[in-house]
Symmetry: none
Subunit: 222 residues, 2 copies
């Protein structure tokens, strides 16, 4: 041991238990021995064992049901999106973004409140004002797109959008730096039309415009 950081009994117990779970000692969805059994197996008190279980429950590896027992919900924590996306082809990321934003545009056309509409309006104006600097352009563009997803009133879509945003931003920044001009009037006009479609509640038009815009973006980035 190089580090002097003593591991608490609860942490040690959680580690041992996780190892046994990964070794396949119990199926996913399977039931573990009770707290008292596990505690005596590992030679710790019941409350310590409970804290070890909570440690793994926080990672969604275990779950408990009063009266029933302790159950395995996963053998491992699903890989964080960040690392998945970092490896992924940027074209694949844009494809996923297309899926999300097209649906979000359709929902937003139906559900947007007036407050959200004015936030979109502001974001769009801001986007029009910051087209010179690459970083600002990418940031204000992302802010507008996000305001559309917010107006869709779908927490899952928003979560997905936020997950893709960093990788998407990175790719856009890289692409725009390699070009002389960016953020021309035509590009801004496309966004204006998307806004108009959502504002007028025309979900069909919003879908078509959003898809066209993102398809074009994909061909530029890919």
């Amino acid at each position: 041991m190089t580090t002097v950081h003593r591991e608490s009994l609860a942490e040690q117990a959680a580690g041992l238990l996780l190892a046994r779970i990964r070794a396949g000692e119990w199926e996913i969805g399977g039931r573990l021995p009770g707290e008292t059994t596990l505690a005596s197996q590992l030679g710790v008190g019941r409350s310590t064992m409970r804290e070890a279980i909570r440690l793994l429950a926080g990672r969604d590896v275990l779950s408990t049901r009063q009266g029933a027992g302790v159950f395995v919900t996963a053998t491992d924590v699903p890989e964080a999106w960040g690392s998945v996306l970092r490896r992924a082809d940027i074209a694949a990321v844009i494809e996923a973004r297309t899926a999300i934003e097209v649906e979000a545009a359709a929902l937003a056309a139906d559900r947007r409140t007036s407050a959200e509409l004015s936030r979109m309006r502001d974001a769009l104006a801001e986007r029009g004002r910051h087209r010179a600097d690459v970083d600002e352009h990418v940031a204000t563009d992302a802010a507008f797109h996000r305001s559309v997803v917010v107006a869709a009133h779908s927490p899952i879509l928003l979560e997905l959008f936020d997950g893709f945003e960093p990788r998407s931003r990175q790719a856009m920044t890289e692409m725009l730096r390699g070009r002389e001009q960016h953020g021309d009037d035509a590009d801004q006009a496309v966004h204006e039309r998307i806004y108009d479609a959502i504002a007028s509640g025309d979900s069909q038009a919003a879908v078509t415009l959003a898809r066209a815009h993102l398809t074009a973006l994909r061909s530029m980035l890919g």
Copy 2:
């Protein structure tokens, strides 16, 4: 929510604590009040408070040092999909599925190989043969939908689809059990038409049909 799994005190306490952390009540690296103080603030016993802290420690939000106290290590928690979806409204899940599958249908129409096409064909036939038993019907339906996403050649979309599948399957099974008839000929015909559109490379039609089908599904499940 059909099954209202009562949230334990420890989970409630962890949720409240997380909300206060996210609200910025303490800096990252900052020290929280002691266990006893927090326990009395939230009106729970010390052991329960400790378990709440362990839940957050498992997510790397908190860390404890014997003799020193409880410290914030991060405010940002990339919440695991499983737990997000378990809580999420089924309508929101279908919305996300719509986003993914509509885009997948469009991509599949452009990219499907003949091998993938025949797998879709097989899955569709299988779906037609298992319409009596609810479990089998839901399973074969899911298999067909998945074969479409596979044909889209987008690893991220496939990953997302698989993530939504369990929650979606659960909701569909529950809904169908409450009905006398399901999987009628019209339903199967809709899937046939989606297949035809993808087979003939008509992405526009695939998009329209897929969206219509999933929108109808959402209104049934919601």
